[in-house]
Structures are given as structure tokens and as C-alpha cells.
């Protein structure tokens, strides 16, 4: 059987947002919209495949390499498939002072995976990140736009349970 790859395209709602983003910058400076548009792309596809990056390059009328070099520089972009919930936990000093290392060990044990891995059911991925600018409310991790702060083992348990429903 022939499998026809689905053409890469933003949903109409997202395409509208992308067009607005491009219009935010002066004429001829549409490349400025690259980071915002990559965020929208990641929101739609979950990660940035080379096909998606090529599509973004076309939309912004720039070379694909200009997208690759940016996507690989900034740590928020996933260049491989990830789970439904990517838990990005802060490993930097102030969070560690608040006992983050113990909380993250618990988190890893609970999910049975290490940083950079995804649970077999595809629900969770773990990603180690640097300071999330929430040091007074640490330990902290974020899942998509949401910050989870003042984490304890018990809090981690209930967050994981809630997101496993």
C-alpha cells in the first residue's frame, strides 16, 4: 500500500497567527518572525522535523539552513519526537538549594525514565533545563506554558496522576 505523506500545513487558525506575526516586523524583515513561528510550529506538531522547518523556511522566504541553525541554537525546540507532556525541570543552583535534586530523583523514579527519555506510553518526556526565572518558588518545572512551583514529592505525584488521566 502506498502511504501518502500528509502535506505540511498550519491549521487555518494557526496560519492566521503566523501571518499576523510576520506582519509585526518591518517589510523585508520577515525573518524576525522565525522564533515566534517556530513556537507555533512546535505547538502544532509537538517537535520540529526537517519537513516542518523547511515549511517554515518557505513561509518566511528564507533558506532552510537559516531555520536549522536557529532551531538547533535555542534549547526550547525539540528536534526529536517527544511525549505528550514534556516536563522541563530546572536544575540550576537556587532550585537545588531548595532540594530540587531529591524531588527530581523522585520524579524520574516515578516515571521510570531519565532526562532525555519518554515513557513507553508516550505520555511524558523529561528534559533538564537551566534557570526558569522562578528561583524563589523552586523547585520548579514547566509543562508547556504552565509553571509548577514549590515542588515536593507529594506535589509531583499528584501532578503526574492528574496528567495521566
Amino acid at each position: 500500500m502506498n502511504q501518502v505523506a500528509e502535506p505540511i500545513a498550519f491549521t487555518p487558525e494557526r496560519q492566521k497567527r503566523v501571518d499576523q506575526m510576520i506582519a509585526n516586523y518591518p517589510e523585508g524583515r520577515q525573518k524576525s518572525a522565525l522564533l515566534p513561528v517556530l513556537h507555533v510550529a512546535q505547538e502544532q506538531w509537538g517537535w520540529l522535523s526537517s519537513e516542518v522547518m523547511d515549511h517554515v523556511a518557505k513561509l518566511l522566504d528564507i533558506q532552510p539552513i537559516e531555520v536549522y541553525e536557529v532551531a538547533t541554537f535555542y534549547t526550547m525546540f525539540h528536534l526529536d519526537p517527544v511525549g505528550k507532556n514534556v516536563i522541563e525541570y530546572c536544575r540550576t543552583g537556587p532550585c537545588c538549594l531548595m532540594g530540587a535534586e531529591d524531588v527530581y530523583s523522585h520524579l524520574k523514579q516515578k516515571l521510570g525514565i531519565q532526562a532525555g527519555e519518554t515513557t513507553p506510553d508516550g505520555l511524558f518526556s523529561l528534559k533538564e533545563v537551566e534557570c526558569l526565572a522562578a528561583c524563589g518558588w523552586g523547585p520548579v518545572f514547566q509543562i508547556r506554558e504552565k509553571y509548577y512551583m514549590n515542588l515536593t514529592n507529594e506535589k509531583v505525584d499528584s501532578i503526574i496522576e492528574e496528567l495521566s488521566q
Binding site: P94, M98, E130
Partner: protein, 446 residues
């Protein structure tokens, strides 16, 4: 209660909405500036206020504005640096999510002063929820005629764009931020030319921190002289301090510059003291980049004077016995903190965040991380400690941007003040790597 310039209304419920902000005097400064002042007069007030860059560098904002080139027919830009990523710092995060209109109003006033018709707020991408709050505030300001075409009938047009970053500490450096805003990797540019001459899209540009810009609202309402009367000496006004670590009340506090460190640390109005049953070991006063100082240099300078929360007093004694106000990231360590582990942690941060452009930083941060890792994990030797000092020295001052210095200072200062703790890790690797083990001084080794 000390003077509040930024957070006076932060506790009011609904202050994030336009209506509540407006009812509490919001946008009155903007009306005053646009209806009764010339752009030059606004710049003059900024200069008089003496307000210094709140992102960490502490350069006088009015002076920075004065450098902006104004060639005919070339657009000028104002870019707000909201890429807050310095470990220990979360004040801009707090300000933007709590009272977003203060930043928006400050941006409009500052853009008017600089003659910018399009201005950007570059927010670190992780704070997408804060970006949404700012977008909402911008939409409200626009709907009420404070933003967009012909603001308040003055003929002045301004468009504000919120731009998300992608996760890169280096983009807090202003020229890296501009590269990033142009859709490129965040590699800092060589200076000169400075952004004031060739910045965004090679046009004259001013880059200012969130807190600096937010101060303009009070400055216009009350005058630059009134602002300069707050604070101490050349440290005028108030400062937002992000307090974290082993204290009773972590959080964001607005203090009048010149408050004593002792009061800030121990007063219930602020940090509330070290957590119960513990005592102070060390302080990083202004974000992870600044030198760490031991407890005996926290409340008093080496000369025995009271240490104050000000640019001058915190750096009193230079690198030998001082630290810096920096971004106001106040990280407190009690006796349970391992200085070696923390220094390794910070080194890993700088290695991870180095853009890789300059060899001393790209290679040096990696070496420091590796050497610190092996000392912390019980595989170090005595020569490693001097090796670290040597590597730090070779990075410092030898890179395009200050990330190299920022990586070197925490290592050099930790060894300067806590050398015995590093040596203990080398001499007693078994004890030092036992989970939870902490160096308590030479006496407890025997």
C-alpha cells in the same frame, strides 16, 4: 514600610486589568508626557532621576538614551529586555505577570521620548503565559487609545510587539538579543558600533531592562529630581530584589537602595532571616554571575562599615572582599550548602549557555565544569584548584561579551573565599562525596 515606586499597587486585586490599573492612577504619566512634555523633556527627567540599568550592568539609563543617534529618515527602535535568565533573578517575571500595564505604560512613555514608532518587548520564550498577559494588556491599551495611531490625539504613533525568545541565557546580552530579534542565533556582536548607532536592523536602538523602563512611570509623575532623592548617593531610587535560597520568605521585594543588607536579610518585611535552626554561610547578592561572599563579609564590609543594598556598598572591597548588586538576584546559602557543588552547578550553567563564539569562553567554561565535577565527585587533586583559578583568569576579559566574565567570577570568588572547602573535597573524597556531606570547617575533619 519603605518607599514603593514599582510595586505600590501590586497587591490590589485585578491590577493586571486595564480598568483597575487606570483607576489607581495608571496611564496618568503617559497623558502628562504626551500632552504636556516634549520628547527631550522626558529624556531630561530620565537623566535627572539617575536611574541605572536594572538588568545588571547598572549603566545610567538617561545617559544611554542620550547616546541614541538620530539620523534623518532612519527609524529608531526601543527594545525592552525581558529575557530574564540570570540564575537567582525572577523580578521581571513577577513584575510583568502582576502589573503588566506598568511596563506597557513605561514602554509608551520611553518610546515617545526616543522617537520610536515601533518597539519590542523581548520576553524569554519559557514565559509564554506572561507573554499572553502582556498581549492582553497591549490590546486593552490599544482599545483605550493609549497605543496605536495618533495616541491621545497627539499625532504620535506607536506599535508594541511582544517577541518570544527560544531558550538562551545569552540573549539577555543586548547585542545577542538584537541578533535573536532579527531571527538569528544569539551570538553577541562586536562593539563598536554600539546599538545606539547601529542596533536592530542596523538602525539606532536602545535596549533597556523591564524594571528600568517601568520606573519611567513614577519618574514622569513625580519628576526625576524626586526619584533621585530616593535611595543613596549614585544608587538612586528603589530596586526589585529577587530573594531565594535558605531564607524564611523567598520572593520579590522592592527596597529603597541604601537599605542595610542586615535589615533586608533579617527583617520580617523582607527575607525574614535564615530558616530556623541554621545560620548564614554565604551570599550571592546580584545573580549567579557576581562574586560569592562568605558570611563575615555580608553585613559588614572589610573596613567594618555597614554593608548596604546599593551598587557602591555591595561592590566595596572590589573582587577581594566585595560582590555586586547586579540584577538583584539575592541567593542565600546556609551552612548545609556545599560551595563546591554550587560552583560546579553554576559552571555547568555557563558552559551550557555559552554561545560558542569565543574560544576562551566556549572551551574555558567546559574545562571549569569538568574540573569542578571531578573535585565534587571525589576525583580531584590539589593542582586542580589552581588550574580553575588559571582558567577563570584566562576567560575573564578575553571574550566579546560579558558571559565569559560571568562564568569566571563565581569560580574565582568561590576559591578565593572557600579554598579550604575545595581542599577538603580533594583530601577527603570519601567523606566529601557521602550523600548530604557538608564541610563544616577544619576542626571537624579530625
Amino acid at each position: 514600610m519603605s518607599k514603593k515606586i514599582l510595586l505600590e499597587h501590586a497587591h490590589i486585586e485585578g491590577i493586571e486589568t486595564f480598568d483597575t490599573y487606570r483607576k489607581n492612577g495608571g496611564y496618568e504619566a503617559l497623558e502628562k508626557a504626551i500632552k504636556t512634555m516634549s520628547p527631550e523633556a522626558v529624556v531630561e527627567e530620565a537623566k535627572k532621576s539617575g536611574v541605572r540599568g536594572r538588568g545588571g550592568a547598572g549603566f545610567p539609563m538617561g545617559m544611554k538614551w542620550g547616546f541614541l543617534a538620530k539620523p534623518e529618515g532612519v527609524p529608531r527602535y526601543l527594545v525592552c529586555n525581558a529575557d530574564e535568565s540570570e540564575p537567582g533573578t525572577f523580578k521581571d517575571h513577577y513584575l510583568m505577570k502582576t502589573i503588566p500595564h506598568l511596563l506597557i505604560e513605561g514602554m509608551i512613555i520611553s518610546s515617545f521620548a526616543l522617537g520610536a514608532n515601533k518597539s519590542f518587548i523581548y520576553v524569554r520564550g519559557e514565559l509564554m503565559y506572561v507573554i499572553n498577559i502582556l498581549q492582553q494588556a497591549i490590546a486593552e491599551a490599544k482599545a483605550n487609545g493609549f497605543l496605536g495611531k495618533n495616541i491621545l490625539g497627539s499625532g504620535y504613533d506607536l506599535e508594541l510587539v511582544v517577541h518570544p525568545g527560544g531558550g538562551a541565557y545569552i540573549c539577555g546580552e543586548e547585542t545577542a538579543l538584537l541578533e535573536s530579534l532579527e531571527g538569528k542565533r544569539g551570538n553577541p556582536r562586536n562593539k563598536p558600533p554600539f546599538p545606539a548607532v547601529k542596533g536592530l536592523y542596523q538602525c539606532p536602538t536602545v535596549v533597556n531592562n523591564v524594571e528600568s523602563i517601568a520606573n519611567m512611570v513614577w519618574i514622569i509623575n513625580n519628576g526625576g529630581d524626586a526619584y533621585a532623592a530616593v535611595g543613596v548617593g549614585r544608587s538612586t531610587g528603589t530596586k526589585l530584589i529577587s530573594a531565594s535560597g535558605h531564607i524564611k520568605n523567598p520572593g520579590v521585594y522592592e527596597i529603597e537602595l541604601g537599605l542595610s543588607v542586615e535589615e533586608f536579610m533579617n527583617s520580617d518585611e523582607y527575607c525574614g532571616g535564615i530558616r530556623d535552626g541554621h545560620h548564614l554561610k554565604a551570599l550571592v547578592a546580584g545573580g549567579s554571575s557576581v562574586p560569592i561572599i562568605p558570611a563575615n563579609l555580608v553585613y559588614k564590609t572589610a573596613n567594618g562599615e555597614d554593608r548596604l543594598m546599593s551598587y557602591e556598598s555591595l561592590s566595596d572591597g572590589g573582587f577581594a572582599t566585595g560582590t555586586m548588586l547586579g540584577s538583584g538576584g539575592f541567593i542565600v546559602f546556609d551552612e548545609t550548602a556545599c560551595i563546591v557543588r554550587n560552583t560546579w552547578n553554576f559552571s555547568r550553567f555557563y558552559h551550557h549557555e555559552s554561545c560558542g563564539q569565543c574560544s576562551p569562553c566556549r572551551e574555558g567554561t567546559g574545562w571549569m565544569e569538568k574540573v569542578l565535577h571531578r573535585i565534587e565527585h571525589g576525583h580531584g587533586n590539589m593542582r586542580d584548584i589552581d588550574l580553575l583559578v588559571d582558567v577563570a583568569k584566562k576567560i575573564e576579559g578575553n571574550t566579546i561579551c560579558p558571559l565569559g566574565d560571568a562564568a569566571a567570577w563565581p569560580v574565582a570568588s568561590a576559591i578565593r573565599h572557600f579554598r579550604d572547602e575545595f581542599e577538603w573535597h580533594v583530601k577527603y573524597p570519601k567523606e566529601a562525596t557521602r550523600p548530604g556531606a557538608v564541610y563544616m570547617g577544619e576542626a571537624e575533619l579530625v
